[in-house]
């Protein structure tokens, strides 16, 4: 299969205490932050690699293309999936400020028209904005079938049909999808047996989580191509539909942990002191 995997760089959540709001409240500043690959996108990369390989022999069965939008620095973000084993990258130059889920979806739709992948596999959401919309908007723009929150993907016919397990509140909802399609993945897609492509023997054990890039992979990734495009190249000139008016930090936590003697006292204090009941 030919699989397109869009990825986004996000501020490392472990550095969350460095996230600051600009003095005028207009934006969240990114100075001094460490960037990492959005975890859900990393899982999508892992799922795409598992779909397109014989896990036991290492033989490749198709192409995995990585796309990211943003300033020049996102090429670093693209290198990681390339080091994990993806084949090539596309960098769409843009300022972070001019992007929202709609712009991203339009860019991806334009790239799909050029690349004609069988599948767009992406994280269910980015852990910075938590919008959870880009995949859905893309499926709508393309008129393609969509499966969100995938925690299992199975194919027995080389990807002509996909059986997708979706994680929903009541359990797992199983869908049959005929590609081309958009699939967004959830955390459990990287459990050892979540992806079955009919080629990797069932006895093959994948590790828990996304694979690491070995140093050999990192060195090999240097030689893989990253095409650079602009929004204008792809005909996406409308601008973002979402505008932000103001950011503010949640109020600082006051007081410290207090222990109460009984449930009654807890309810009483929640009513009279915290005023949340």
């Amino acid at each position: 299969m030919k699989i397109l995997v869009p990825v986004k760089r996000v501020a490392d959540p472990d550095n969350a205490n460095k996230v600051k709001v600009s003095a005028d409240g207009a934006r969240v500043t990114s100075e001094g932050l460490e960037w990492k690959l959005n975890p859900f996108d990393e899982y999508a990369v892992e799922a795409a690699l598992r779909l397109n390989e014989n896990g036991a022999s290492g033989e490749k069965l198709g192409e995995v293309i990585i796309v990211s939008l943003g300033p020049d620095e996102v090429q670093t973000t693209i290198r990681q999936p390339l080091a994990m084993g993806a084949d090539r990258g596309i960098h769409v130059k843009a300022d972070d400020a001019e992007l929202d889920s709609t712009v991203v979806a339009k860019v991806l739709a334009a790239l799909v028209a050029q690349e004609k992948p069988d599948l767009v596999l992406m994280g269910k959401q980015a852990v910075d904005g938590d919008s959870n919309t880009a995949g859905q908007v893309l499926a709508e723009l393309l008129g393609w079938p969509m499966a969100t929150f995938a925690m299992a993907i199975e194919t027995a016919d080389g990807g002509k049909t996909l059986t997708i397990g979706r994680e929903v509140d009541t359990g797992v909802l199983t869908l049959k999808v005929t590609p081309p399609a958009v699939v967004t993945v959830d955390l459990r897609i990287v459990a050892p047996g979540s992806v079955r492509n009919g080629v990797t023997p069932d006895a093959h054990k994948y590790g828990e989580g996304a694979r690491y890039a070995s140093l050999k992979g990192i060195m090999a990734a240097k030689k893989k191509a990253i095409d650079v495009r602009t929004l204008a190249d792809l005909g996406v000139t409308d601008g973002a539909v979402v505008t932000y008016t103001k950011f503010e930090r949640p109020p600082a936590r006051t007081g410290s942990v207090r222990f109460v003697e009984s449930a009654q006292e807890l309810v009483q204090r929640l009513k009279t002191e915290a005023k949340v009941l």
């Binding site: 090429q75 670093t76 070995s214 140093l215």
Partner: protein
């Protein structure tokens, strides 16, 4: 000398440092250090080592401390990920990176939270093996180094003896020629990875009357007849790492296991020590930074007389001093690392006396700073710092080794004086 097919990415340009053949975009902001040795590949590698340390090692840290041994799969997994051989040439089974890969690795491994695990891995990658890449024959590299860098054979370095430490001229372990073999007799102690090593890079006297010039290095498989582990040693700290006393009773190894030339062992060892001391220093100062960072988290939550500890001026001043000292120590380590990388990877020669002196200074200074940090983080945590429940008391015990292992602080001072010509 190290043969590097691709040369190094880190080179001197005129009188300023530059990243050489940098690929990919330049950062918009000027980096915080005067020179920036790390490329995109180093940074990606660093993140992978960190993920390995935090996700695959740290969850087991307590268990391995109790067991006083971390399992062998840790070597294997580190080998698979290219962590052990990152800075070795491809011709020796490595990935062809420069020495900054090794520095980055040593800084990230400390995040596994167990100094014993970090030490065991560093012995494998930077202490028992560099001299094999440097001097080894094709067969020696295939038999010992390549499997060690894959994590399949565990390596130990045999230098110290019950009666001789850094004063290696006083060694008693001997190897005499008998036909096509060397026959080894003697014992070694304080040997990291010693209870389970597959081979020992062994320093011994091949000519007992020749002083420094009678010392050689032999590669000794531990399955050889007459080799035994006479004792597993109990230690103050670094519990997850096994340390042993080794005994050689008429152990025979073929002459082809001689590393380099006979009688040159002392010189070889002095070279080999430099990577050990450098990577130990970079790891120790990264550990000190981590201890301070973790202490801040505690200080934000812990209230004393109505204010978080971190808001108390006395602690603000103390922490400011400690962070400053750590930055200064790191700057010195980076200066040494730069000199080492230049000597070994750019000009591909021996480690110079000037670099050796800088590395001795780094180890000396980092040892003092790390010990002060360890003492103060215990104080900062108060009673909790003295309990086994928290990481603090373990850190206090573990870091103490650094002023001893790989040459004591006193030996470092002796060397600085000697290399300065006093």
């Amino acid at each position: 000398m190290l043969a590097f097919p691709q040369g190094s990415r880190y080179q001197l340009n005129g009188d300023s440092f530059s990243g050489g053949r940098r690929r990919g975009p330049r950062p918009r902001k000027a980096p915080l250090v005067a020179f920036h040795p790390y490329t995109e590949e180093h940074e990606l590698f660093r993140k992978q080592v960190r993920a390995f340390a935090e996700k695959e090692l740290a969850p087991h840290a307590e268990e391995w401390e109790r067991d006083e041994l971390f399992p062998n799969w840790v070597f294997k997994r580190a080998g698979e990920l290219g962590i052990l051989g990152a800075h070795y040439p491809e011709s020796a089974g490595g990935s062809g990176g420069d020495n900054w890969f090794s520095i980055a690795k040593s800084e990230e491994l400390v995040k596994c939270g167990s100094a014993g695990v970090t030490m065991g891995l560093l012995v494998q990658s930077d202490m028992a093996t560099p001299c094999i890449a440097e001097l080894g024959t094709k067969d020696q590299i295939a038999e010992f180094l390549e499997p060690a860098l894959r994590g399949e054979k565990i390596a130990a370095l045999g230098v110290s003896e019950p009666g001789a430490g850094s004063d290696v001229a006083g060694l008693r372990t001997t190897a005499r020629v008998d036909g096509d073999d060397y026959v080894i007799n003697g014992s070694k102690t304080y040997i990291t990875n010693g209870t389970r090593a597959d081979f020992v890079t062994l320093l011994c006297k091949t000519d007992p009357d020749a002083g420094h010039h009678g010392i050689s290095i032999l590669l000794v498989p531990t399955n050889a007849k007459g080799f035994s582990v006479s004792k597993k040693l109990s230690k103050m700290g670094n519990w997850a790492s096994d340390t042993a006393e080794l005994f050689f009773d008429n152990v025979r190894v073929p002459k082809r296991n001689l590393l380099g030339q006979e009688g040159m062992g002392f010189i070889y060892l002095m070279q080999n020590f430099q990577s050990e001391r450098l990577v130990g220093s970079s790891s120790a100062i990264a550990g000190a930074f981590l201890a301070l960072d973790r202490s801040l988290d505690w200080g934000r939550e812990r209230m004393a007389f109505g204010k978080p500890l971190i808001k108390r001026e006395v602690w603000q001043h103390k922490l400011a001093e400690l962070y400053t000292k750590c930055e200064a120590a790191k700057a010195l380590v980076y200066k040494s690392a730069d000199a080492f990388n230049h000597d070994r990877y750019v000009t591909q020669g021996d480690v110079s006396f000037e670099t050796t002196k800088l590395i001795a200074m780094s180890k000396l200074f980092v040892g003092d700073v790390a010990s002060e940090v360890a003492d103060q983080v215990v104080q900062f945590h108060g009673g909790m710092g003295y309990l086994e429940e928290l990481w603090v008391s373990r850190y206090f015990r573990d870091q103490r080794l650094f002023r001893i292992g790989g040459g004591t602080s006193e030996v470092m001072k002796y060397m600085i004086a000697k290399l300065s010509g006093w």
